[in-house]
Amino acid sequence: MHSTTVLLIEVGALLFALGMLGRLGRRFGLSPIPLYLLAGLAFGHGGLIPLSASEEFIEIGAEIGVILLLVMLGLEYSAGELVSNLRAAAPAGLIDALLNALPGAGFALLLGWEWQAALVLAGITWVSSSGVIAKVLGDLGRLGNRETPVILSVLVIEDLAMAFYLPLVTAVLAGVGLVGGVKALAVAVVTVVAVLVVAIRYGHTISRFISVQDPEALLLSVLGLTLFVAGVAAELKVSAAVGAFLVGIALSGPVAHHATQLLEPLRDLFAAVFFVFFGLSTNPADMPPVLVPAFGLAVLTMLTKVLTGYLAARRAGIALPGRLRAGLGLLPRGEFSVVIAGLAVASGVEPRLAPLATAYVLITVVSGPMLARLPDYPWFKNFIRRWTAVKRGPAQPLPAGD
């Protein structure tokens, strides 16, 4: 058979299988991300069904998938929103970074990994999945809740922080050392600030340059611009993903709105390919030895996330039940953790990192949305009510006043 024919058959069968899996997942209220990862594990190296002809195609598709994930994330936020949010919620973001990145880094060092791998694992445990969490909040009807803005601003700060973290990691993994990493970070800071300033001042001019009238032209121009900037960013060693994110931020108004609608199906397609690719590059035989460490890391960093949400919500004046909802809502790690781990896999820094990251994301992304439901159960509410009553108990016989 001609190799193109095999490619068609393989990609077709793969996408169809993913579609069926996604449908199955929806029935159980499960995010498709873990299913795609598992599908990737099942195929490819050491898997049940080897993919021969389509691996290169899937690799390029995965690269585009990361870029589309990031540009869509950027399109969701406007530059002004990012800046005002940063002002209001910076302390929450800092708590989040410290409480969740440090355990990851410490855990890696404890396993005897190099510092580069520790930096990568720090990122993997730090960033919650904004996609999965936004979906869970919507499904549970919590978008109107008072703790929801707290959750969202933590996510926004994490996403923005990635614009600095990804270039740092990319540079460090390229073997330039810490000095080179800091240089890349400096470049990223200057670029991001410049893009934010330009987007706030001239966002409308940029967006006016791209016409909304013709959907086809809009799709091609936004996609072209994104891929181009991502490519240039990668060439400058600032990470393609960050380039795409910045394009998303720079576009605003009706262009951003329409581009989101047009790119969404493309994003769904290529993001699925991306998750499968990450699963493909992990050999299932490497998984069992890392399961226990991954579980330990997941429990540890889910507890720190709960604490993060609790503290951030307390800062915003939210009562105890809301604080727990915020904490339990932040648990799932997803697309970003896989993106970060993908960088590490490409550089070949630590062989155990990819299987550990896969297991870690699988555990958090499956258990996170389930745990997020906890505060809605009556027994949980009763427990909280009794607990607050007990805590308040001794405080009651205070002087009754004069």
Partner: protein, 167 residues
């Protein structure tokens, strides 16, 4: 209108914006406006004021209908508040007397506006408000008419509805 209500606006990055207000009865209601045009009416829990008890998605038409209903009853309240404000212009609720000749007849038949220069701006029926009834509107027993006009105009409408004048 004496006390202005404070509506709080909270941005929801990536989703849209939330507006909410606390009513004088202590309940909180809000609207989540999504960027894609969807909006949810949210009602907050009394026990846990941070959580919404219900989140009701409204289509464009439903939101408009709800706004209309609230707006119409609000307008009547304001009209009633106009009492004594505009020089000589009054608002009055006039119950249709049991023996009124206009039960089952059209509003146009009263020729109230022509004869008294007072206007019938709404009719209250079974606790419902029917705003700005037109001439083809048919009266029923127990209707209450809301009319705006001068003192003599309103007295004129009262008399017409009671059948005290010859039509």
């Amino acid at each position: 209108m004496t006390v202005r209500v404070r509506v709080e606006q909270t941005p929801l990055p990536g989703i849209g914006v939330r507006h909410d207000l606390v009513t004088s009865s202590g309940r909180t209601v809000g609207v989540v406006s999504h960027r894609n045009g969807r909006r949810d009416l949210v009602l907050y829990d009394v026990d846990d004021p941070d959580a919404c008890l219900a989140s009701i998605p409204l289509t464009d038409d439903e939101a408009e209908a709800l706004a209309d209903v609230l707006g119409a009853s609000l307008m009547l309240g304001q009209l009633a508040g106009l009492r004594q404000q505009a020089a000589g212009l009054l608002t009055e609720q006039i119950a249709l007397p049991a023996g009124s000749p206009f039960v089952g007849r059209k509003l146009g038949d009263t020729r109230a506006r022509t004869r008294t220069s007072a206007s019938i701006v709404a009719v209250l029926r079974d606790r419902e408000v029917i705003p700005s009834p037109g001439p083809p509107f048919v009266f029923e027993a127990n209707d209450v008419v809301v009319a705006v006009g001068t003192r003599s105009g309103l007295d004129g409408i009262t008399a017409i509805l009671a059948g005290d004048t010859d039509g």
